[in-house]
Every structure is written in structure tokens, then in C-alpha cells.
């Protein structure tokens, strides 16, 4: 279009005519953009802190289980060749660390109290690399690299074998009696008291207790409930994978604080080999948790692992698939931010529209002259939109600088939440200090959107100016 250089020159120079008004409108845009960038940064930071809090403590970015385990964890839903599979997963490109875990439940008893616990067996080195559990020890120390020596199972003597056969026959008879009693409505007789002690004696021979209490880490809330401090002993009672009762005394080596109230109140962590031995799982495990170099690659890496022959028959899922509730929470955070940003934008756009409208009315005569000398209506609209775009662009870039500065400051120093922190939402903990995260999207979207809104806001006054008859605009009928 002819005269575009002139249109641009007039638009640019018009900005300098009423510097205060330009500065105030620009400040509104700059503050709007910087606040939006800061809001995105804080919300992105909170979301990534929440995701990090679950992917570092509870979940890997990608996890491998036997089918059915993730929806209903049970001791028997384990997989074999756990160490070999962990090594294959660790060698996958993009995988930073892999933790191998056994999960079970037990009743923990101290001298003061009892509590149900989730007992997790981990390889200390792998777990430290994957979930940084070693950094969460608040008192005592982390698990040692080597497991506790457990004595080998003893051969049963002839008398013990006879006793085993007798107890088996007794159990079969008791079961038959119980079935018969069910049909007749009579009460079944209790099994002889002696059989429990005898059974325990045989189990001790077959699976002897470790030479020394294996070390165990307790969540800080659990430790308080049990009244157990570092070096205290805790008796764990559970059933092994064969359904047999087992009872092993552990020694508290450390207390951990993850920030997740549910985990800190129920979690006990011991060496993988100790827990495998406790449950009689051999080399089997329940979970491979993978920490990735780049969390956004979770879906691709999960797909690639699932295609590996070593993982055939197992279920490979991303953290998003395992925790859709957290994904929904992150999305709702995003929606909340979007609403807030929309409000800021609308307010800023109204401010810009008002400024441009005032400028257009003030320059009504000049616009009439431009039309009189033959400037096309579209060129008038372009000139006003260009003026707004220049104002919006300049102010948006100032806002970008300020917003990025705020994000960098909040990323480094954060906002202390004081009493508001320390709680968890769906297992994701809110950190005590809220840090902003600067992303290209979070920084550039507000700039582009504000520019667009400002230009759109200028179109109405521009259209009014373009439609007005030149003689009327110049005040000469």
C-alpha cells in the first residue's frame, strides 16, 4: 500500500505528542504483561514443584509393574529377574536413574505403640539416585549399601520332618472339620494351641532370623507415633509370599521427612535384599521406578520400554497415567492462571482502548485532513493500529523484561509460604518456599496476547475515525 512508510512515521511520532498519556498507557500494558509473566512463572513453579514432589518421592516419571499391581498392590503381583530388568531400563537412552522396589505391608511394634506400615525394600544406591531419599534423612543416617547377613536355611532333622508331616495332616484335618462344620451349622473346633509354636519353630529353622536387626528408615510421623528414635528397635510382623507369618526385629537407622504427610506417617524403608528375604521373594520385585533426564520424554520412553522383549508381559506407565489426579490438579492450576491472566488482559486492553479513543477524538481534525487529502479508510485504520502496536510492543517488551526479572528473582529466592506450607494435595506436597519457573511459553504468550488485545482494542476507535466524513471530522460542514 502506497504511503506505508509515511503511515508508520506518523504513527510513531504521534506516540511522542502526549508523552504522559503514552507513558501511562504503556505502564498499564507493561505492568499487565509483567504480572502475567510472574503469575505464569509462579503457577508453573508450583505445578512443577508438585509434580517433582511426587516424581521424586513417590513416583518415577515412568514405572514398571506386574499387571494389576498399580491399581491393587498385592505381594504376589511381583516380577522375576528384577535386577536384570532394572539394568536394561537403566541403559535406556534418556533414563537418569532406576530404582528397584519391593512393596509390602506389616504391623510395626515398638516398646510404646504399634502401627500399620508400608514396608518398601530399596537398593540404597539406586534409590538415592532416583528419588534422592538419602537427602531426606533428618536424623540418623541413610541405609548402608550392603544388606544384613541372613543365616542360610537349615536342613530339617528327621524328627522335624515327621513333625512337619504331622502338622500338615493336622491342618488338613482342621480344614476338613471346618468345611464339615459349615455344612452342619456346628462350630468347628479350634486347632491345637501347640501347632502354632511348632510351626514357628519349623519356620525359624527353614528361614532363620538375621544375625543382627536389619537397618530401617522410618517416616518422621511414623517414628513419632511409634515413639521410636534412631537406634531403637521395631518389630515387624507380616506374612511372607507363602502366607506364613514372619516376625523380624529391625533397628531404626534414620528418620526421613518427604513432605508428604501420608508417606511420612506410614512409610518404612529397608534394604531391598532384607525385604525380599523377609517376604521370601527371592530375586523378585514389585516396581521399577525410572527417573528421566527430561520429564517431558516420559511418554516416548514408556512406549519404547514397553516394546522391549525384557518387559513383555509387564505394564509400563507414565506418572501421568498413574496419577491422573495430579495431572488434573496441574491443569486446574493452569486454568486458574488463565482466568487471572484474562482479567489482567481485559483491564489493560480497556485502558489501551480508552487511551487510543481519546487520542483519536483529540486528533479528529487531523484524521479528517488525512482523509481529505486522499488517505484511504483502511490506511487510517492501519495508522491507528500501528500506533497502538508500537505502543503495545514497546510496553510489552518492557513488561517482558520486568516479568522475566521477577521470575528469575522468585526462581532464586522464592516466596516463603510460612504456615501455608507443609500440606499435601493428592499426595503432591506444597513446598515451604514457592519458586517461580521461567518458561519460554510463560514469557512469550503474555507479550503476544497483550499485543493482539491492544491492537484489537484499537480497531473500534480506528473504524470510527475511518468512517467519519472528512468535512465532519474537520468541523467544516
Amino acid at each position: 500500500m502506497a504511503g506505508m512508510a509515511l503511515v508508520f512515521a506518523i504513527a510513531f511520532r504521534n506516540l511522542g505528542r502526549n508523552r504522559w498519556r503514552t507513558a501511562i498507557a504503556g505502564a498499564a500494558v507493561a505492568v499487565g504483561v509483567s504480572m502475567c509473566i510472574a503469575s505464569f512463572g509462579v503457577m508453573d513453579g508450583m505445578s512443577s514443584d508438585m509434580v517433582r514432589s511426587i516424581t521424586e518421592v513417590e513416583l518415577g516419571h515412568v514405572e514398571v509393574h506386574a499387571p494389576g499391581f498399580s491399581s491393587r498392590p498385592r505381594l504376589e503381583l511381583s516380577f522375576d529377574q528384577a535386577a536384570q530388568r532394572a539394568a536394561i531400563a537403566a541403559a535406556t537412552p534418556g533414563v537418569r536413574a532406576v530404582s528397584l522396589r519391593v512393596r509390602g505391608f506389616a504391623l510395626a511394634s515398638s516398646a510404646h505403640a504399634s502401627a500399620g506400615v508400608e514396608l518398601v525394600g530399596v537398593d540404597p544406591a539406586r534409590e538415592a539416585a532416583e528419588s534422592r531419599l538419602d537427602r531426606r534423612v533428618t536424623s540418623g543416617s541413610y541405609l548402608p549399601a550392603t544388606p544384613t547377613p541372613w543365616p542360610k536355611a537349615q536342613e530339617l532333622s528327621t524328627a522335624e520332618r515327621a513333625l512337619d508331616e504331622k502338622l500338615t495332616a493336622q491342618a488338613a484335618a482342621a480344614a476338613a472339620n471346618e468345611i464339615e462344620a459349615l455344612g452342619s451349622g456346628r462350630e468347628s473346633p479350634d486347632p491345637p494351641e501347640l501347632s502354632r509354636d511348632e510351626t514357628r519353630r519349623l519356620l525359624t529353622a527353614l528361614s532363620p532370623a538375621p544375625a543382627a536387626p536389619p537397618p530401617i528408615l522410618l517416616g518422621d510421623k511414623l517414628a513419632r507415633r511409634l515413639g521410636s528414635k534412631v537406634d531403637a528397635t521395631v518389630d515387624l510382623m507380616t506374612n511372607d509370599s507363602g502366607g506364613n507369618p514372619v516376625d523380624v526385629v529391625f533397628r531404626v537407622i534414620g528418620v526421613v521427612h518427604t513432605g508428604d504427610g501420608a508417606l511420612d506417617g506410614t512409610r518404612a524403608v529397608a534394604h531391598l535384599a532384607d525385604v525380599q528375604r523377609l517376604y521370601g521373594l527371592g530375586d523378585r520385585a514389585h516396581e521399577l521406578a525410572l527417573s528421566l533426564e527430561d520429564a517431558s520424554q516420559a511418554r516416548e520412553i514408556a512406549r519404547s520400554l514397553a516394546r522391549e522383549p525384557a518387559f513383555r508381559g509387564l505394564v509400563v506407565k507414565t506418572w501421568q497415567e498413574l496419577r491422573p489426579d495430579v495431572v488434573a490438579m496441574v491443569k486446574s492450576n493452569g486454568a486458574f492462571t488463565a482466568i487471572m491472566v484474562a482479567i489482567i488482559f481485559v483491564v489493560a486492553a480497556i485502558g489501551v482502548a480508552d487511551t487510543i479513543l481519546m487520542a483519536v477524538f483529540e486528533r479528529r481534525r487531523e484524521l479528517g485532513v488525512l482523509k481529505a487529502v486522499g488517505m484511504r479508510p483502511l490506511a487510517i485504520v492501519l495508522m491507528i493500529a500501528t500506533e497502538t502496536a508500537l505502543l503495545g510492543a514497546g510496553a510489552s517488551f518492557v513488561g517482558l523484561g520486568v516479568g522475566v526479572g521477577i521470575d528469575l528473582l522468585l526462581g532464586r529466592y522464592g516466596i516463603p509460604l510460612g504456615g501455608l506450607s507443609g500440606f499435601t494435595l493428592a499426595g503432591a506436597s506444597i513446598p515451604p518456599v514457592l519458586h517461580a519457573t521461567l518458561t519460554a511459553e510463560g514469557a512469550l504468550w503474555p507479550v503476544g496476547l497483550m499485543l493482539l488485545m491492544a491492537i484489537l482494542a484499537s480497531l473500534w476507535p480506528a473504524a470510527v475515525a475511518a468512517r467519519t466524513e472528512p468535512a465532519l471530522a474537520m468541523g467544516d460542514r
Binding site: A9, V369, K371, A372, V373, G374, P377, A379, D476, R477
Partner: protein
């Protein structure tokens, strides 16, 4: 008709313009029939409120008539769209306003270039023609000055340069000397007479300045929106 087959530079027939002033309907023009031949130097004279400015606005396509027709070089303005009218103003008509109406953010040279730029004339040609036109109105030393740095007479000369630099058919000037002292007014009239002679452009003024009327070769008197006399100067 002033010239056998060629259409007149300006022709109006039955031109009426009314507008409302509060609850009162004002008839600014009441049936104007007029023809201006190419190269004429004509003054619309008459008291304030006689309809001079309204007639110039209608002829210049700055406003639309209530009824009647305006033809510029044979083109009927009533049948043209807003964009076509803009093109007509840009390419055929030059305006000189009483209040100068220069753009305050542009220098004298840029103001003179304005219409040429809108016409799509190349940058170099724009500059060359605008500079020549400013020199011809005696502003050769003031190219870079903004309107606020020029006197009223100098501003009006820039406005004349802007109008003449681009106009090909018609120059409309609304009370061009009204805000000027007598020396500036005489000087400006000299310039316009010279330009009329050099470029064979049709000039139509509105004025009640006797100096302007004295220079005109045709004087049309308006009263209450009607032509009351149409006199031509003896050659």
C-alpha cells in the same frame, strides 16, 4: 460548457445540502447549478453562512449532498464508493484550508510530500517534487521545520505546496488568506496566480477578502445557499 467536447472541471446541478442544528433544519445550499472550466481562477464570495465552505466540501467530496449531483471532470461523485472518493481526492484535487491543517508531527517537507506519498510516487520523485514546490512558494530554507516552528503565512504556503504538488485537476481553497496579514496574503495570492498560469489547474476559492476577489477572473456570489451573481472579469 466551457470547452466543446471536454467535460467541465467541475459541474453541479440542483445541489442541496441540509443539516440539523439542534431541532432546526438548516438549508446550507439550496439548489446550486454551476460549471467551472479547466484552468479557471474563480472565487466564491459571500457573507459568513452563505454556503461557501459547504459548496467547496461537496465539490471536494469531503461531504455528500442531500440531493443533486457533483461531477469532477465528468465523474459523478454520487455513484462512487468511499475508497473511490478517496482516490479522486488523492489524485485529482488539492485542498488549502483556512486553518492550514498541516500535520503537526511532520516537517514542512514531509507535509508537502504527504499526498505524493499517498499517490505512490517513488521516494526520490516525491522528495524532488515537494522540494521544488516548497521553493516555488518561497520556503526553500525551511524544509525541516515543523508547523509549530512556522508563521501562519509560512504554514499556509506549505498547505498550498501540499495541494499543488499532487493535484492534477482542481485546487479548492477555503478562505486561504483569512488568517494572514496583508503582505503574506498578497504573497500567497501571487504564488497561486503563478501556479494557475504554469500548471493550468482549476482554482476555486471561497473568500470575502477583497484582495482575493480582485485577483479572480470569475466571482460567484452566494447568499443563503443560492448563487445570486456570477461575474467574469473582462480579459
Amino acid at each position: 460548457m466551457t470547452n466543446g467536447m471536454a467535460a467541465p472541471a467541475v459541474a453541479t446541478s440542483g445541489l442541496v445540502k441540509t443539516y440539523r442544528q439542534g431541532s432546526v433544519e438548516v438549508r446550507a445550499l439550496d439548489g446550486i447549478d454551476l460549471e467551472l472550466g479547466a484552468g479557471e481562477f474563480t472565487v466564491l464570495a459571500g457573507p459568513s453562512g452563505s454556503g461557501k465552505t459547504t459548496l467547496l466540501n461537496l465539490i471536494g467530496a469531503l461531504a455528500r449532498p442531500t440531493s443533486g449531483r457533483v461531477l469532477i471532470a465528468g465523474q459523478d461523485l454520487g455513484t462512487m464508493s468511499a475508497a473511490e472518493l478517496a482516490r479522486l481526492r488523492r489524485e485529482q484535487i488539492g485542498f488549502v484550508f483556512q486553518a492550514y491543517n498541516l500535520l503537526p508531527v511532520l516537517s514542512a517537507l514531509e507535509n508537502a510530500e504527504l499526498v505524493l506519498e499517498l499517490q505512490g510516487v517513488t521516494r526520490g520523485e516525491c522528495r524532488r517534487r515537494a522540494e521544488a514546490m516548497l521553493r516555488s512558494v518561497g520556503l526553500g530554507q525551511l524544509f525541516g521545520r515543523r508547523p509549530s516552528e512556522l508563521s501562519g503565512g509560512q504554514q499556509q504556503r506549505v498547505a498550498v505546496a501540499r495541494a499543488i504538488a499532487a493535484a492534477r485537476t482542481l485546487v479548492l481553497a477555503d478562505e486561504p488568506t483569512a488568517n494572514l496579514d496583508s503582505k503574506s496574503a498578497e504573497s500567497l495570492l501571487d504564488v497561486m496566480v503563478e501556479l494557475n498560469r504554469e500548471h493550468a489547474l482549476t482554482f476555486l476559492f471561497s473568500s470575502h477578502d477583497p484582495r482575493v476577489v480582485a485577483r479572480a477572473r470569475r466571482v460567484i456570489h452566494l447568499e443563503d445557499g443560492r448563487i445570486v451573481s456570477d461575474e467574469r472579469a473582462r480579459p
